[in-house]
């Protein structure tokens, strides 16, 4: 791949790469792509199938906005407290017509499935899953999740997980250059694989840097097959944290979890902090106006 990659606003990127009914991976593990999710919510792009390793409050907000058809995840809860993700619970405990259906993966098998997707493997041996709920209860995947096969070399039984290959991945990186090389520092989670597993990737970069900066730390560049666009968006993961750059806003997580305990409370929150702003810059500005923002952001590394 050569040449430059389009640099888009989040509005443009979501508009171009997320259609109703899309199959979207929303990154990252813990460091969640709130900027992308809020734009999806503002546009009301629905009927989505999302993959998220750790659903958290981002998945909770998409569920609250009624935009998810299916979710493949390993965990969905508030990251502080830990307080429940209220929309997630409501949708599953008291489902309505069109409520999200969730397929539970373990984090190991979820990552292994993306690794298989990345490396052109139809499936990959993974964690023993016999008798686990993840194996016995399949909400969406039917046979397309786990199976047991005979190890051709030893004759023993081995659990395998089918490859996952999302259409589009939104991945947060610390920095990216104009050619779409995205660099991530800190634990990689499934970022080691998802950019090769997905057909298209949109990079959300906290910083835009020159290629010579990228070249100083080539080992930090994520393996990605097709970077379709780079979005420059500081504070994109707020209220979650970004390794080396900013802290989780624990106060805001608790505030959100409390507000969203009722549907009306969630609507009020969304009106003020999602629909009531135009983009990430206005979001941060709104939080400041409300006296709800006192974090610092350090450029890393």
């Amino acid at each position: 791949m050569s040449g430059t990659v389009p640099r888009l606003s989040m509005k443009e990127a979501v508009g171009q790469f997320v259609e109703p009914g899309a199959d979207v991976y929303l990154g990252n593990f813990g460091t969640a792509a709130f900027g992308a999710a809020h734009e999806i919510i503002r546009r009301g792009i629905g009927d989505l199938r999302v993959l998220m390793s750790s659903g958290g409050l981002l998945m909770d907000q998409l569920i609250g906005a009624g935009l998810l058809r299916e979710a493949l995840t390993t965990h969905c809860w508030g990251s502080v407290g830990p307080l429940p993700a209220a929309n997630f619970r409501r949708a599953l405990e008291d489902p309505k017509e069109g409520s999200v259906r969730v397929e539970d993966y373990s984090y190991g098998t979820f990552t292994a499935a993306l690794m298989a997707g990345a490396y052109d493997m139809p499936f990959v041996p993974t964690t023993p899953m016999q008798r686990t709920g993840h194996d016995e209860h399949r909400a969406l995947s039917g046979q397309d999740k786990y199976d047991r096969v005979e190890d051709p070399f030893t004759g023993g039984d081995v659990t395998v997980v089918k490859a996952l290959r999302p259409e589009v991945a939104f991945v947060i990186v610390h920095r990216a250059d104009r050619r779409g090389r995205g660099q991530w520092f800190g634990p990689r989670g499934e970022l080691a694989y998802v950019g090769l597993a997905a057909r298209q990737t949109v990079l959300i970069a906290e910083e835009i840097v020159g290629t010579e900066v990228v070249q100083q730390r080539p080992e930090a560049t994520l393996p990605i097959a097709n970077v379709e666009a780079v979005v420059h968006e500081p504070w994109t993961a707020h209220p979650e944290s970004l390794f080396g750059m900013y802290h989780r806003d624990a106060e805001h997580v608790v505030y959100y979890c409390r507000r969203s305990r009722s549907e009306e409370g969630f609507e009020d929150y969304a009106d003020r902090y999602i629909h009531g702003v135009d983009d990430r810059e206005e979001y941060v500005e709104r939080l400041r106006e409300d006296g709800r923002f006192d974090l610092e952001r350090t450029v890393y590394p």
């Binding site: 190991g108 800190g186 989780r248």
Partner: protein, 274 residues
């Protein structure tokens, strides 16, 4: 409840007792929630050389200065991270290979065979109560040697004869059933720490080893229907004053970091008028 010797609150005993199952120098695979506090108590008390492994793929050396709200509180341990890899490396490499000495995971809904349900109560398709899901606890339970389960709850409903959904596999139905299912030899939970007492797994089933000084035997009989509660042959030790002081300090830190703590009001966000 009885007067608890040196302990004022069941959570103090849980964190203190679980921390004492760790040793300085241990490499501890640390799950989210109570395990974060357990390794913090151990780290502050005696574990200067203890190493934490987190499922996102981090090896964290040195105790983070500020308490973590959870294992994805990344920026709080950025400076202490000595290895930044992937979950494949964490689960199938570091854990499976024996790099990890001990593992601690939350087991807030657990049965007498050490099976943990953190997914749902009731039918999976129509749950009465939906819980967070597994994260990587399925892998930790599958591969860890010296696995310590921590249940901080006093709610009797959190202790089952058998759980409905096995999120993290213990000894399944007891006997040889875990091994028969193909889980690796030498793996499976070794201890369960609860507010009521410390259980160890012998012959693949939980047995009471120490009763918490805060509870009478009759309290346990009301909670643990179907479990082996043969009274332990020794009382638990008196609390080490330094360990207890640190445990209380960590609980205070947790309160400041918005942990939901039993019998304490959750710290209010934006306290100055919201």
């Amino acid at each position: 409840m009885t007067t608890g010797g040196d302990f004022d609150h069941p959570l103090e005993w849980v964190l203190y007792r679980a921390a004492r199952l760790l040793e300085d120098g241990d490499r501890v695979f640390t799950g989210t929630h109570w395990p974060v506090l357990v390794t913090r108590v151990a780290g502050r008390w005696f574990g200067a050389d203890m190493v934490r492994v987190f499922e996102g793929g981090a090896i964290v050396e040195d105790l983070p200065e500020t308490i973590l709200t959870g294992i994805s509180d990344f920026h709080r341990y950025a400076e202490d991270t000595a290895f930044a890899g992937t979950p494949m490396e964490a689960f199938y490499g570091l854990l499976r290979s024996g790099f990890v000495d001990k593992a601690v995971i939350d087991a807030t809904n657990v049965d007498r065979y050490g099976n943990v349900n953190s997914t749902c109560i009731g039918d999976y398709g129509d749950p009465t109560v939906r819980l967070p899901g597994s994260g990587g606890s399925t892998e930790v339970a599958a591969y860890a040697r010296n696995l310590i389960l921590v249940n901080g709850s006093t709610d009797p409903r959190r202790y089952r004869e058998t759980v409905e959904y096995i999120t993290a596999m213990g000894y399944d139905r007891g006997g040889d059933s875990r091994a028969d299912l193909g889980f690796p030899e030498g793996t499976g939970p070794t201890h369960l720490v609860t507010p009521y007492g410390l259980f160890s797994f012998e012959d693949n089933e939980a047995r009471l080893r120490e009763r918490s000084p805060l509870f009478e035997q009759s309290d346990l009989e009301d909670v643990f229907g179907g479990w082996d509660l043969s009274p332990p042959d020794r009382p638990c030790d008196d609390a080490d004053p330094e360990g207890l002081r640190i445990t209380r300090a960590v609980i205070d830190e947790a309160g400041e970091a918005y942990y939901v703590l039993p019998d304490r009001e959750l710290k209010s966000p934006y306290a100055k008028g919201s």
